[in-house]
Assembly symmetry: C4
Homo-oligomer: 277 residues x 4
């Protein structure tokens, strides 16, 4: 029962995150660069995540990414029984969000390419919803890209919510997550769009397949679709592992009183929160 409530919230959250995030891409694409570009996409998408975390962080911990939820379970920061509920809500929410952005930009999509919904080429619109690889990209490189970028994502997310590390001031964690997403999408977005999130990518892809772009959305790019699903799951665990191995287990016990104070007040809540992006 309580899980169902959480599920609903997570769905709702992803909805806002995905509508505003993919909305930034839609605005840039449909205006052919006049009212948007890489800066508004990277900054706008990041700020969409920031505000989404503020909306649902207090209730459901900001769960919008299966790769993060999985890593949290693996490293004991979330109970395993919650995982299927969260992941289910994440995929469902992303699907609803895709439909919302499709609806609000319906007239724009229809007029963009003479009513056609195209997957590749100059008038493509499918990449408003899901990510696609650059023409030069091999599957191996694409997989490495998704593992690496999600690895960095998790390393920093673990750091942001590690009360024994530097410590982002309480209540500003979502903003620092946003700054991280700006860095990641500005540096690792060229190869294949920096999805770093199975739900954010697979659900919109399924939606576009059903909404008129056709099931080629799964086959183009040498069946690219599974890369931003499997890569982030692996990369997230890897990132958590690296953080724990290189940082967390080296925290000095030199400030026991500080540590204690922190662990009583902030830590549990913080880790709950950390299941973001």
């Amino acid at each position: 029962m309580d899980n169902e409530v959480m599920e609903t919230h997570a769905m709702h959250l992803l909805n806002e995150y995905l509508v505003l995030g993919c909305g930034c891409i839609a605005q840039a694409v449909l205006s052919r660069g006049v009212l948007g570009g890489i800066v508004t996409i990277n900054v706008g998408f990041a700020m969409a995540v920031v505000t989404a975390i503020y909306v649902t962080g207090g209730v459901s911990g900001g769960h919008i990414n299966p790769a993060v939820s999985l890593a949290m379970c693996v490293f004991g920061r979330m109970r395993w029984y919650k995982l299927p509920f969260y992941v289910g809500a994440q995929f469902l929410g992303a699907f609803v969000g895709s439909a919302t952005i499709f609806g609000v930009y319906y007239d724009g999509l229809m007029s963009f390419a003479g009513g056609k919904l195209i997957i590749t080429g100059e008038n493509a619109t499918a990449f408003i919803f899901a990510t696609y690889p650059a023409p030069y990209l091999s599957l191996a490189n694409a997989f490495a890209d998704q593992v690496l970028s999600t690895m960095f994502l998790l390393m920093v997310v673990f750091a942001i919510f590690d009360s024994r590390n530097l410590g982002v001031p309480r209540g500003l964690e979502p903003v620092v997550v946003g700054l991280l997403i700006i860095a990641l999408s500005s540096s690792l977005g060229l190869n294949c769009g920096c999805a770093m999130n199975p739900a954010r990518d697979l659900s919109p892809r399924l939606f576009t397949a059903l909404a008129g772009w056709g099931f080629e959305v799964f086959t183009v790019g040498n069946n690219f679709w599974w890369i931003p699903v499997v890569g982030p799951l692996l990369g997230g665990i890897l990132g958590g592992f690296i953080y724990v191995l290189f940082i967390e287990i080296h925290h000095p016990n030199a400030h026991p009183d500080f540590e204690e104070e922190q662990s009583e007040n902030n830590k549990p809540e913080k880790y709950e929160l950390s299941v973001i992006m």
Copy 2:
């Protein structure tokens, strides 16, 4: 008497917000993109809102948007008798602000299109003041756009000022509102300019009608003018309803002491504040 004072402040606030906000559009349009573009518009407009809230937040709670004020009344966060004073001040302030931006860019407007004040086309300047729909947009889609974007606005504003949610650090709420506006204007600005505010749109439109653009500002776009007036009012209530239904009523009572402490110190003040944007 006290209301009159508040009215004056709100007017003054909207004045600054609108001058700096629409000023960003003016700078981009009148320089034909050389000294401004979508990034300076979206970021500059958001920062204009941020600073406007800092100026008047302490006295009149940052009231600059009838859609937000209405939603606050509907959900019991503001007394109904205040509403007409606030809304009146918002419309009056936006009119004065329009006149100010017209004055400070008078020479620029005159030289831009050979002294002509034009509503549509390449040399149009009317959209410096009020919003206009994209050529492809139907009225139904436009209405959905304004409802949806204001819905998101209110959802996040309610979250930002909900002391039982994640909680933006005290004194930084205006900055997070600014980040939200960057996300909204980057993602939902293409269809019809993301007004989300009846006063910010209708008063400048009336000003332009009187100042020389003519009353066609009301009839173009299939009489578009009422969309950013009615849509936001509806969307704001919808957003507040969704936030209360999906988030607020699910707040756990597990931390009663925390909650109590918050409710005594911050909450009333926060809700007073939350009537922003």
Copy 3:
């Protein structure tokens, strides 16, 4: 003696502020837009101010603008006897800063227009240092522009450091000043470059006159040079007056204990600090 120390600090501050600020314009101009543009100028300049305040705020209160210092004296936030020392240091510091930016970009300036230092036209470089009016601008409109923008600057600066208003968290005031400068330069920069500071404009202009651009830097634009000197002084006083009249004197005395606590701890220090930008 103590004043001399302060003078030195203020000079040093303006130095950094002006080097990094005008450096942003130099980078955009000398790369002909490839490595800079309106976004890097507006954001970079603002962040230069932010960091300059952090450097000298603790010692000399971040005094870099005669218009702000004058308004502070007029409204009793700074002692009059300090004014000539501060203003002298501001002008001297801006001159040294101009020389620094000239030095570090000497090779770039020499190669840009075949060794010529030009004031107007396609290969102009004088506006890296001082501001110049748009071709369409009348002197009356220019004067109104400088009064208006500095008025907004002071209104918000007074608000940021008014502990009875909303209140920026202690230590983040410089960042909010930076956000304000982004808004102002994005919205009111088109007419005549948004100087808002007599020292930031007059000293670099004098430097360019001596360094090879010639004394036409004072005569172009219908002797424009005095506008960003006199306009800001008047606008600053006006902005302070509006803030006090519409906001400060209306602060409720309903929270006397809060107010008292603030006035003992933060207020004097804050007002000292507020003499910024």
Copy 4:
């Protein structure tokens, strides 16, 4: 033993910082400006630094720049015996980071110029990794540029972590460092890329020499390679000297209790932290 651990951390940190930082340049270059430009480079690089400090700040103090580490030793903020370990880790980490960015963009690099790895000209890619001087730049001007920019860097870093100055709120120091880097790279990036860091420049240069660009990466630009190595070391010490001379020794002793409280709680930790960027 403890030093070896720190070394590992610093390496790891620089790795992330350099991958995301140089990744921003790679994305802009390899997409020929479509998916990146000076704004995403300057903002993305700065945010990469911000998140890198959050990751390792708690354990190893965010050491990623030999110029900063050296200045810290010179001014008594770090023990000299640590310096070789830190600097070694910084150079090693930057080399590993270069290899990582080379790997993740391998397909992109191969397709960009027909499989060729080019140092100068239209299809150059070497400047993704190390910095190169503008064609107009003399060695003397280049050296002055690196001294000046690193001088400003250190001045502000010393200010940010000086608890007797204005004071950035605890936990937000990395963000202000990021804002500083935005200002520096927007204003002093034109001459020679604003490296300000021997490890960030020399290690990637060595990597590119070995990876296929050839050892001309050291000889081009009149043997430019040593400028961003020696200049920052000198500039960093100069910046620290100026800060101490003009600011630190002038701190008033008027608030002894405040000062005492600070020195007990924050100062040592802060200075430990300050060895960043």
